[in-house]
Structure formats: structure tokens, C-alpha cells
């Protein structure tokens, strides 16, 4: 074609209509987007300001100058007359104090544990592993509460005398008092000497370094002279200033005798005081962050190829030289960036101070914070084993010659030549190399310091394990758990509707089992574990019933304001009881078993009052036992008098029914107690109560006009130390009875659905997997519907989200958070990569802003601001508000994860799609997103696990998820002093879920689910 067609030329120059011009279109799109975002923002802001104004609040900075009217007990001196601005200053100082001390301590601890993780000593390595897993898989807030309430506030009352440690250091529930340093007037002059000394020392250091350099030696021998310089000048200064510039103040307990003759500690004077709040916050942040730093250190050190270490050793470097010159310089480059993130996390997490009442910035200002408190688990790179040669069996077999080939071997006369004649056979290694012995030598007793470490740690472990076991079996009061299982499970979800929660649990379990069968493989170990678990669940109640139930004691006492009210219990036909009625003297020992009434102290006080020395013991007491339907026809009556003999009786109950124990007392003082054997304490949970009513009918409401006590776990208290048999009978039995049925059903559903999944996978894997994914998608709205109910429905009455609680709420928050965040995250990720600047800037701002702010503050802000933003939102309850906050928050993190996936897609993919003529939407949906999302599945799983733990932060706005329930339960009077039990229990729940999910996601990663598909 030598001539161009004129029409073609003409069309080239024809102006493109505006509505088809790409440049115009993109501009318009951006303007529309920006206007939309900005106007929605303005509208919300406007609403908020209006709402604030109508509440009489105008946002400005004047309030800072008003007096605070509250006190801060921590940090620089502050009183209620000081201003808000002063309070803020104190808060900043406090935060800085915790963060700065925390950073130093956590770095030291983290590095030690990280190195321990790499130790050649098996025991040390595994202790470090357990430490890391335990702390990473439980929420920081739970740890903080445990440390604060379970450790520091559980220390002895200051009044009753603090624990004294050498130093002296005094520990009480008012904090930690250590010897303190006091600077006198001469201190400032002395400091001048020290500063001069430091300057001189740096000169010495520099000179020595230069000298070594000039001589070309490695710079050693410079520390000692430098230190000596400082020391000499400091000593000279000390003598020169006359009065000592520094004195020490030792803490001294200030004793005071009460009028009653009791000696109590009023306070500890002198020394430095660390409040329980400061200590708990510091300790919590340090040990939590150290677990993450340890992983960072381990990953960094392991990233140094083993060949580097071998090369260094081959050159004769010592262990420490290798570490110092070869390993650390290389590892540090990998360690430092994630270490910085962990430092930032510690600083952010310090905002959790609000939970334990430590006055830090967030806690005091209680507003937005540019400090951040999110603990999104960093995904550390996983390192494979060091590569080593694998024997190539195939090739060996080809090469291998029959044994008789050796027969023809000839011995050459040349002394340089050797031909094998009789080949040595492979032998077993010496006994010290293999088997238990060899393993121990290599892993536990390799060198003398290894052996020492092993012995020390073995001792510590045994010591800790024995202590823990004694506590769990003997001392801990597990009633707080056993009696409140329903609360821990679903909070205040109405008791008669709990079946719906069970239904949802089973749906999710069935789907999980199905997924497991379709995608996973159950290893032999897992199968055995499930099997044993099932069997144990089946037999636990029966097993527990083999152990004798400790007796119950009830004590009618003379001279008290409330003689024993009637007691009721359920008894079966032909059940036999043994009753012993004993007059109590001062010599009678406190019994072991259940006692009626509140606590151990109450019991002590009760008998003490009854046995006051100056009162005469002139008690005559009678107890009798009768069927509740006929309280005035006793089956047996026992009477004792002070100083008299005990009475006992054996009775057999005539029918299955409620029974009543009543008592009458004559005389002014004295006590007696009734020991009841053969009656297990009744269970007190709602479900158990319903069961009793079904079998034995309704309990009598009053007996002789008085409300009776049930002999149930909520009213009884165990005194004395339990032994293992008591533990099984008293804790394991009732616990198993509570969870047994649900756990059994759940396990069966898992097993069945697992097999169904396996079978379906074998028949048609692709179709079954698609169906399973569809079922998961559908299950989300379905389960939410079942939980919430339908307006006006009979079968599924509405249960408001304000009634959801416990583990149910924890899981719902996490699931809703991730599901609702998904569209936001994907859109924001795409937006951040958009070619349109307006879209890009807005999305980037959203992502970066949210990521810079701690989750606590996002939740808190959502809680406060959602109702203000739009009047119609005012009635939304705080669960939904928390969900909004968590969704916005997770959206930003998800966006970054998805962006990572988008970046991993080769450029060619997009170019190919465009070349095929796909438009942006089609390309994104069909080509880009499927690949990007597949690549980030493990990262999303990690995000979900972090979110699961972070749901605990909603306690800040008073929601009753797992942690909130624990806090509520322990604040009930009958569970005073059971914080540790409650927090240990929920920590175990968090751990089990988090650990299971993270090992599943690790397997997902290993199986290559996240990897781009091979072509």
C-alpha cells in the first residue's frame, strides 16, 4: 500500500468526544470519588459536632487549663489542684518510663530466649519453644490481667506484713519497695567529676583504639583503662566534695500496734516504690514482647548459612569470635527491621495500661493516641532445614556389585597401591552414639556446661511442675470455672435459647471436619489423640464416680445471729448416708472437705467466735433429716452437747426426692458440726438445676418459712488441700459432667464429617471442594441468622447482640471482623495501586492512618463516635460498634496483605490480559485477584489469628467476651480470690484455639496452598 486511505487520516485527527476521552474520564472519576468521600466525611463530622454542641461540649483546647480534680498516684508529683495539662505531662512521663525501661529489658530477655531457641541443648531449646508458643498464643491483655490481678494484687496485704526478700525488698499488694538511691546536695558537684571522668575515659578509649590500629592489632585492651579512668576520677571527686554525694535509703516497715494488741504494718518507709500497676505493665510488656523478639533473633541467626560458620571454624575462630565477627554482623541486618517493629509494638501496647489503671498517655487522655497498640503477629520467614546431601539410592544400586567381585582383588607390590580385599561391613555405632544414651549425650550432656545447664533446668522444671501440679490439684478453686461454664461459653445468651448456640457450634464443627477431610490428612498421631480424647470423655464421669466424694460439713452454732438455715439436697432411692454430729472444742482440727457458707476465713471466724475463750461452752444442738415433702417427720435425729460425745447414724433414703436438714440450738455459745458422707455436692449450673427439677421435681421454696440453702457447689467451699483422688472427684467429675455431652457430640460430628469429606474427596475431589467452599460461604449468614433470630418469629426469637458473650462473642467478633473487612481490604488494596492519584491518596491515607493507630483506640473511637456521627446510629449497641471498629481496623491490615499478593503477580499477567482486550474490571476479577488472593491465604490466616486474640481488647468498652466474662465472674463475691483460676482457664482456651489455627495455617503454607500454581 503506497497510499494511505484519506478516511483513516481524517479519523485520526477527529476530536474524541469528551465522554469517551480516557483522560477526561479518569479525571471525572477521581473528582466524583473524592467529592463522595469528602462529603460523607463532612456530613459525619458535622453530625458529630452538632451532637457535641447539643450536649454542651465545644471542642477546643481550653479544658487543658482547668484543674483536673483527680489524683494520679504514679509518676511525678501531681495533685487534684493541678491542670489537665499537668496530668497529661505526668502521663507522658509515665509512658516514657514504662516504654524505655521495657525496651531495654525486653531486648535482653528476647535475645537470651532467641539464642536459647538455637541451643544445642534439647532441654534449653524446648523450654524456649514453650515460652514462645505460650506467650504468642494468648492475648497480651489476658497476660496483663493475670499478672496484675493474679500475681501483684494477690501478694500479701501490706497490713498483714509484706514478703521480705534479701536487699531488703518488700513485696506486698501495694507494690514493690526496693532500696533506693538518694542524691544529697553535693551530688551535682560530684557529677561534674564523673562527667570529666567520662570525657577522659573516651579519650583513653580513642587513644588506645588508635594505638592498636597503628600497630595493626585488633582493638583489645581498651575497656579496662577507660573504666579505670572513670573510677579514679569518681573516687577523687567523692573525697573532694566532703559529704557523700549519694546515700542509700533502705526501706523500713513502719509497724503500728492496734488497740486490740495486733501489730500491723502501716506502710514501708524509705526506698523506692514500684506500684503494682507499673510493675505489672512493665513485666507484661517485657515478657510478651520478648517472645516475639526471640523469634526475630532466631530467624535472623538461622538465616546465616551454615557454611559461614563452618568456614569460620575451619579458619580457627573460636565460638565467640565466630559469633562476634561472622554470625552477628550478618544476622543483625536481618534482625533489625523486624526488631524495630517489635519496639513499636511494645510502645503501642503500653496503651493497654488503661486496663489495669496505670496512668499512661492513652489511659489519662483517653483520647486518640498516636501511640499504637496493635499486636498483629509478624509473619516471620520460615527457614527450612539446612540442605545436606541425600544418598542417591538408585544410583548406588546400579553401581553396587555383587560381593564376589572383591574376590579378584589383587594386592599390588607398589607400596603406593592398595586394593581392598575384605570390605568392612557396616556396623552398629557404639552405644554412646545412638539410642537413648547417644541422644542424651548429644542433646543434653554434650559438654560440661551443657550438662550443667541440663541439670539446672531439669531441676527448675521439676520444681515448677511440682508447684503447678500442687496448685492445680490441691489448692486452686476451680468452682469459678465449673459453675460458670455456660457464661464462659455464650455469656448472657438466654438459657432457653442456648440450643441455638449449640446448633451453630455443630454446623461449624461439621464444616471444619469436612474441610479437614477434603484438604488435610489426619496424621496417625492426631488419630490416636482424637481416639484417646473421645474415650476419656466417654469414661470421665464414670471414672470420677469411682473416687470417694469428700464429706460435707455444716455447723449449727449457738450465739450467732443466723443459726443454720434449712439445707436441702437431692437423694436417690436406697442411697445411704453416714452422718456424724460432733461438738467442737478448741482442740478440734479444721476438717477437710466441703463446708457450708462462704469462705475459709469465714469458717475460721465462725468457729473462733463460737469458741471465744471467755464464753462458756453450753451448747445443746440437734439436727434432723427428713423428706422435703414431710419436713416434720424426720428420718433420723441427732443431739449433742458441749463436751459430750459425738453422735453418728447411718441412714438409707426411702425415695428419690428432695431432702431437708434442719437444726435447733440451745445455749449461748459453743459449736458443733454435722459431717455428711454419701451426698455429692449438687451442681449449680443452670443446666444441672434444670436436670434436678426434671428428676426430683421442683425444690421446696421455703421450709418453716425460711429459704433453704442447697447443698450445691456454689454454696459449699472446699477447705484443706485436695489430694489427687479429691481432685478427680471434686473437679474432674463435675467438669466432665458439664462438658461431656457437648464435647462428645462435637467430637463425633468431627469424625463423621471428616470421613464424609475423605469419601467425597475420593469420589469427586473438585466438585466436593467447591461444594465445601460454597457451604462455608453460606454458613456465615445462616449462623448469624440462627444466633440473632428473626423479628417476630416464634421459633427463633430475636436475641440482641448485647446478650452475646463469652467464647461465642470472641469468635463472632473475629469472624465478622475478617469477613466484613474482606471487601474493604480488597478495594483499598486495589485503590492504593490505582493509577488515579485521588483514589490512590485516599486509600493510602486510610490504610496508613489506621495502621498507625492502636486497635484499642479504634474500638474506643468507634464506640464513642458512631452514635454521634449519625443520630439514627445512636441506638446501635456496643457490640456492633466494636465490630465496626474491628472491621475498619482489619480492613487496613488486610489491604496491605492483599497488596503484597498483588505485587507478587508477574507484570506479564496484566500485560497479557490487556493485550487480550480485557478491560480493567474483567482483568482484575478474572486474572489478578484470583492469583493474588491465593498467594496470601496463609497471611490472611495469620491476620485472623491475631484478630482472634485482639478481640480481648473490647473489654475496654465493657463488652463481655471471654476476657470480659472472666472479669465479671471473678468480681462476684463468692468467687473472690479466684482470678488466677479464671485467667488460666481463658488463657488455655485462647491458646488452644490460637495454637490449633496457627499450626493449621503453617501446614497450609507448607502444603503450598499459598504458592502460585505451577503451570
Amino acid at each position: 500500500m503506497s497510499q494511505r486511505s484519506p478516511t483513516f487520516d481524517a479519523s485520526l485527527h477527529q476530536p474524541v468526544p469528551l465522554w469517551r476521552d480516557v483522560r477526561v474520564l479518569t479525571l471525572v472519576a477521581q473528582i466524583i470519588f473524592a467529592v463522595l468521600v469528602v462529603s460523607v466525611g463532612i456530613a459525619l463530622l458535622n453530625n458529630m459536632l452538632t451532637a457535641l454542641r447539643s450536649a454542651g461540649i465545644t471542642p477546643n483546647a481550653d479544658f487543658l487549663q482547668r484543674t483536673a480534680g483527680f489524683e494520679l498516684l504514679e509518676g511525678p508529683a501531681f495533685s487534684r489542684e493541678d491542670t489537665f495539662a499537668d496530668a497529661f505531662r505526668v502521663a507522658v512521663v509515665n509512658t516514657l518510663r514504662v516504654v524505655s525501661v521495657g525496651l531495654v529489658l525486653t531486648t535482653i530477655l528476647g535475645v537470651v530466649i532467641g539464642i536459647a531457641r538455637l541451643s544445642s541443648n534439647w532441654l534449653v531449646r524446648h523450654i524456649a519453644l514453650v515460652y514462645i508458643e505460650a506467650l504468642q498464643n494468648t492475648p497480651l491483655l489476658v497476660q496483663l490481667y493475670f499478672i496484675y490481678l493474679g500475681v501483684f494484687l494477690a501478694l500479701p496485704n501490706l497490713r498483714d506484713g509484706p514478703i521480705e526478700l534479701p536487699g531488703p525488698v518488700y513485696l506486698s499488694n501495694r507494690g514493690l519497695v526496693t532500696p533506693g538511691v538518694v542524691f544529697t546536695e553535693t551530688a551535682s558537684i560530684w557529677f561534674l567529676y564523673v562527667i570529666v571522668g567520662l570525657v577522659a575515659a573516651s579519650f583513653v578509649w580513642y587513644a588506645r583504639t588508635r594505638a592498636a590500629e597503628r600497630a595493626g592489632h585488633p582493638p583489645t585492651g581498651r575497656l579496662a583503662p577507660a573504666v579505670a579512668t572513670v573510677a579514679v576520677l569518681a573516687a577523687v571527686g567523692w573525697l573532694a566534695v566532703g559529704a557523700p554525694p549519694i546515700t542509700f535509703s533502705l526501706p523500713v516497715p513502719d509497724m503500728r500496734e492496734l488497740p486490740t494488741g495486733e501489730v500491723v504494718v502501716r506502710r514501708v518507709e524509705g526506698g523506692d516504690t514500684l506500684t503494682p500497676e507499673f510493675s505489672a505493665l512493665l513485666l507484661g510488656l517485657v515478657i510478651y514482647t520478648a517472645a516475639f523478639i526471640a523469634e526475630v533473633v532466631r530467624a535472623g541467626v538461622q538465616a546465616v548459612p551454615y557454611g559461614q560458620i563452618e568456614a569460620a571454624r575451619a579458619q580457627g575462630f573460636s565460638y565467640f569470635q565466630t559469633l562476634q565477627l561472622i554470625v552477628l554482623p550478618q544476622a543483625l541486618r536481618i534482625i533489625i527491621p523486624p526488631l524495630g517493629n517489635q519496639y513499636l509494638n511494645l510502645a503501642k501496647n503500653s496503651s493497654l495500661a488503661i486496663a489495669i489503671g496505670f496512668p499512661d498517655v492513652f489511659s489519662v487522655s483517653n483520647t486518640i493516641a498516636n501511640q499504637s497498640g496493635q499486636s498483629v503477629t509478624m509473619l516471620l520467614p520460615h527457614h527450612g532445614e539446612l540442605p545436606h546431601d541425600e544418598p542417591d539410592d538408585l544410583r548406588r544400586d546400579q553401581l553396587h556389585q555383587p560381593a564376589d567381585a572383591d574376590q579378584g582383588a589383587v594386592r599390588m607390590s607398589d607400596r603406593y597401591v592398595y586394593v581392598e580385599t575384605a570390605p568392612p561391613e557396616a556396623r552398629k555405632p557404639p552405644a554412646t552414639e545412638v539410642g537413648a544414651l547417644g541422644w542424651m549425650r548429644k542433646n543434653l550432656f554434650g559438654t560440661w556446661y551443657d550438662a550443667l545447664l541440663t541439670l539446672v533446668f531439669a531441676f527448675l522444671i521439676v520444681y515448677a511442675a511440682v508447684g503447678l501440679l500442687n496448685w492445680v490439684v490441691g489448692a486452686a478453686n476451680w468452682d469459678v470455672v465449673v459453675n460458670n461454664l455456660r457464661l464462659f461459653g455464650s455469656g448472657r445468651y438466654p438459657a432457653d435459647q442456648v440450643g441455638r448456640v449449640t446448633a451453630v457450634t455443630l454446623i461449624v464443627t461439621a464444616l471444619s471436619g469436612l474441610a479437614w477431610g477434603l484438604w488435610g490428612r489426619m496424621s496417625r498421631v492426631t488419630q490416636i489423640l482424637w481416639g484417646t480424647g473421645l474415650v476419656m470423655l466417654l469414661i470421665a464421669p464414670a471414672f470420677a464416680s469411682l473416687f470417694p466424694i469428700p464429706p460435707i460439713y455444716a455447723a449449727p452454732t449457738a450465739g450467732t445471729s443466723s443459726p443454720l438455715a434449712p439445707l436441702i439436697f437431692v437423694g436417690g432411692e436406697n442411697q445411704s448416708l453416714h452422718l456424724t454430729f460432733t461438738p467442737v472444742t478448741r482442740e478440734t482440727e479444721t476438717p477437710k472437705g466441703f463446708i457450708g457458707g462462704a469462705s475459709r476465713t469465714a469458717w475460721g471466724e465462725y468457729t473462733r467466735t463460737a469458741l471465744e475463750p471467755e464464753q462458756a461452752d453450753d451448747l445443746t444442738a440437734t439436727v434432723w433429716i427428713a423428706e422435703a415433702s414431710a419436713p416434720d417427720r424426720p428420718l433420723v435425729t441427732l443431739t449433742v452437747t458441749s463436751g459430750g460425745e459425738a453422735e453418728s447414724a447411718e441412714i438409707t433414703l426411702p425415695a428419690a426426692s428432695w431432702y431437708v436438714i434442719q437444726s435447733a440450738v440451745e445455749g449461748a455459745s459453743g459449736a458443733a458440726w454435722l459431717k455428711i458422707e454419701g451426698v455429692p455436692p449438687m451442681r449449680s449450673s443452670t443446666s444441672a438445676q434444670a436436670e434436678y427439677e426434671q428428676v426430683y421435681g421442683p425444690p421446696p421454696a421455703t421450709i418453716d418459712g425460711e429459704r433453704p440453702h442447697r447443698l450445691d457447689i456454689a454454696w459449699l467451699r472446699f477447705v484443706g488441700t485436695r489430694n489427687l483422688s479429691d481432685f478427680v472427684a471434686v473437679v474432674v467429675g463435675p467438669f466432665a459432667a458439664e462438658v461431656n455431652r457437648l464435647a462428645l457430640v462435637v467430637s463425633l460430628v468431627v469424625v463423621v464429617s471428616y470421613w464424609v469429606g475423605m469419601a467425597a474427596g475420593r469420589i469427586n475431589e473438585k466438585l466436593s471442594r467447591r461444594l465445601a467452599v460454597a457451604a462455608w460461604l453460606v454458613s456465615f449468614p445462616v449462623t448469624m441468622l440462627i444466633l440473632r433470630g428473626l423479628d417476630g418469629s416464634e421459633a427463633l426469637p430475636v436475641v440482641g447482640t448485647d446478650r452475646w458473650g463469652g467464647l461465642l462473642l470472641t469468635l463472632v467478633l473475629a469472624v465478622v471482623g475478617i469477613v466484613a473487612a474482606f471487601p474493604i481490604g480488597v478495594l483499598a488494596a486495589l485503590g492504593r495501586r490505582s493509577r488515579l492519584p485521588a483514589v490512590r491518596i485516599i486509600c493510602t491515607f486510610y490504610i496508613e492512618f489506621v495502621r498507625g493507630v492502636p486497635l484499642v483506640t479504634v474500638i474506643w473511637a468507634a464506640n464513642v463516635m458512631v452514635p454521634l456521627m449519625e443520630p439514627r446510629l445512636a441506638s446501635v449497641d456496643s457490640v456492633i460498634r466494636a465490630m465496626v471498629g474491628m472491621t475498619l481496623f482489619t480492613g487496613a491490615y488486610l489491604a496491605e496483605v492483599v497488596r503484597g499478593g498483588l505485587q507478587a503477580i508477574p507484570r506479564g499477567q496484566e500485560e497479557a490480559a490487556r493485550a487480550l482486550g480485557m478491560n480493567a474490571v474483567v482483568m482484575t476479577v478474572l486474572i489478578v485477584l484470583p492469583q493474588a488472593l491465593r498467594a496470601v491465604i496463609p497471611a490472611i490466616a495469620g491476620l485472623f489469628i491475631a484478630l482472634f486474640k485482639d478481640t480481648s481488647l473490647v473489654v475496654i468498652i465493657g463488652l463481655l467476651e471471654l476476657l470480659g466474662i472472666a472479669r465479671t465472674v471473678i468480681s462476684q463475691p463468692e468467687y473472690v480470690g479466684t482470678q488466677r483460676e479464671a485467667f488460666v482457664f481463658i488463657a488455655v482456651i485462647y491458646f488452644v484455639f490460637s495454637y490449633a489455627m496457627s499450626s493449621a495455617s503453617r501446614r497450609l503454607e507448607a502444603s503450598g496452598a499459598g504458592a502460585a500454581r505451577k503451570l
Partner: protein
């Protein structure tokens, strides 16, 4: 008999710089080295070959204690390798080693790589160490690369730096574990040339290699390993022209 020697042969540490008697090593239950006995004389060049997985690397690594052996005796220059840390350090500083993967320290320049051990282990002055390093870089043919980082060098250059690094400690013995296996063919020659020069200068060398040309030209003796034992040993003459053992024959037929 001096090559694969009788385990009961008399020990002569005067004539032999390395004496190995009845060496046995296991990885767990796996018997890697079975009753290996070898004497290496001063200034001898010994090439070790054999099929993959036969224990060649493991053998030379036991000589400088990168691998611990369980039975038998290793005596290097009159010092026996025992659990004594001092012996291990002393022996290591007398033995240089060159690895298949070079294992240069990536965070240090070529010069620093070479001078690090002389300064920190031998306690030489820096000037001394640097002068030595320049001389060695000259010797391996890359004097101009001193201030580069290992990542900026070709494989052949890296391996020559590694050789210089090992030589900087003035070792009496050099161990080479497949020094050319990770290299492109055109780089192999430059490394082999350096090794030949080294052999001619009278260094005692133990070389694991599949370069049969090198073995034929330079080796005083070739040890053939199979299944963790020495099945045949002899001069290159013997080895290439008159192998006795069927395993050796098969191996040669495949490799040549």
C-alpha cells in the same frame, strides 16, 4: 602399604603429616566411614574421588574436626585430634579449607575476608596481614579485587579469594572439597591453575574432586571411596591404566 593402610600399620608421625587409623563415623545409625586408615606424607597431593554419598566430604571434614569421629585416631602434624579444645584450635590453624560453595563472608570485603583470621586468630598486626593478603591475591591472580565485596565477584574469582583466605593462615595442609563443582567450565580452569601452582610449591593437599584431568596431572596418589571405605588407592598411573577393583573400573568407565 601407605595409602589405604592397614589399621595395624605402625604410626610414623615423622614422615607422615596426617595419620589416620581405623576411623569410624556414624550419622545416627548410618555408618558413613568404615575403618578408614590413611597416611599422608609431607608435600603429598592426594586426590579423593568416588561416587556421590560415599563419604568423601565427611572424611576430609573429620580431619579438621568439622565433623566429630567416633572411633579411630587422627594425628595431624604430630598432634592427635581429641576432645581437647586446644588441640582442635591448633590443628585448625594449621589446616586451610576450601569449600564447594566458597563460603566467603558476604559482609566483608575481599581484603577483610583474607585478613580477618590472621588478625584475630594469629594476632598479626594489620599491616602484616594486609601485606600478606596482597601477596596472596597476586598469587591467585586477582590483585585488583581487594576492595570489592564477594557478591561483586565471579564464581571463579570468589573461589580464588577463598583459597587466598585459607592460605593467609600459612597452613601446612590444604583441604579442598569439590572446589570447582559450583563453577562454570570456563572458570574451572582458573581455579585449577591456582591449585596446580600450589601443589608445585610443595603444599600438602587433600582434594576431593571429579576433575580427572587434574588428578592425572597433579596427584601423587588417588584414593577411591565407596560406601564409606577406601576400596582402591594408587598412583594416577595405576588408577587410570590398571584399576583392579570392579567398582573403580565401573566408576572410571562412567566418568571418563
Amino acid at each position: 602399604m601407605d595409602a589405604g593402610v592397614d589399621a595395624s600399620a605402625p604410626v610414623n608421625t615423622e614422615a607422615n603429616i596426617i595419620v589416620v587409623r581405623g576411623l569410624n563415623k556414624w550419622f545416627g545409625d548410618f555408618h558413613v566411614l568404615k575403618d578408614v586408615s590413611v597416611d599422608v606424607r609431607h608435600q603429598e597431593v592426594v586426590v579423593i574421588c568416588g561416587p556421590s554419598g560415599s563419604g568423601k566430604s565427611t572424611f576430609i571434614r573429620t580431619i579438621n574436626r568439622l565433623e566429630e569421629h567416633q572411633e579411630g585416631t587422627i594425628i595431624v602434624d604430630g598432634i592427635e585430634l581429641t576432645h581437647d579444645v586446644r588441640n582442635i584450635a591448633q590443628i585448625r590453624s594449621e589446616i586451610g579449607m576450601v569449600f564447594q560453595q566458597f563460603n566467603l563472608f558476604p559482609h566483608l570485603t575481599v581484603m577483610q575476608n583474607i585478613t580477618l583470621a590472621p588478625i584475630w586468630v594469629r594476632r598479626w598486626s594489620r599491616d602484616e596481614a594486609e601485606a600478606k593478603a596482597r601477596q596472596l591475591l597476586e598469587r591467585v591472580g586477582i590483585p585488583e579485587q581487594a576492595d570489592k565485596y564477594p557478591g561483586q565477584l565471579s564464581g571463579g574469582q570468589q573461589q580464588r579469594v577463598a583459597i587466598a583466605r585459607a592460605l593467609a593462615m600459612e597452613p601446612k595442609i590444604m583441604l579442598f572439597d569439590e572446589p570447582t563443582s559450583a563453577l562454570d567450565p570456563e572458570m574451572i580452569k582458573e581455579v585449577l591453575d591456582v591449585m596446580k601452582e600450589l601443589a608445585q610449591s610443595g603444599m600438602t593437599m587433600l582434594v576431593v574432586t571429579h576433575e580427572m584431568g587434574f588428578a592425572r596431572e597433579v596427584a601423587d596418589r588417588i584414593l577411591f571411596f565407596d560406601y564409606g571405605r577406601i576400596v582402591e588407592a594408587g598412583t594416577p598411573e595405576h588408577f587410570f591404566h590398571n584399576p583392579q577393583h570392579d567398582r573403580t573400573k565401573l566408576f572410571l568407565s562412567q566418568i571418563l
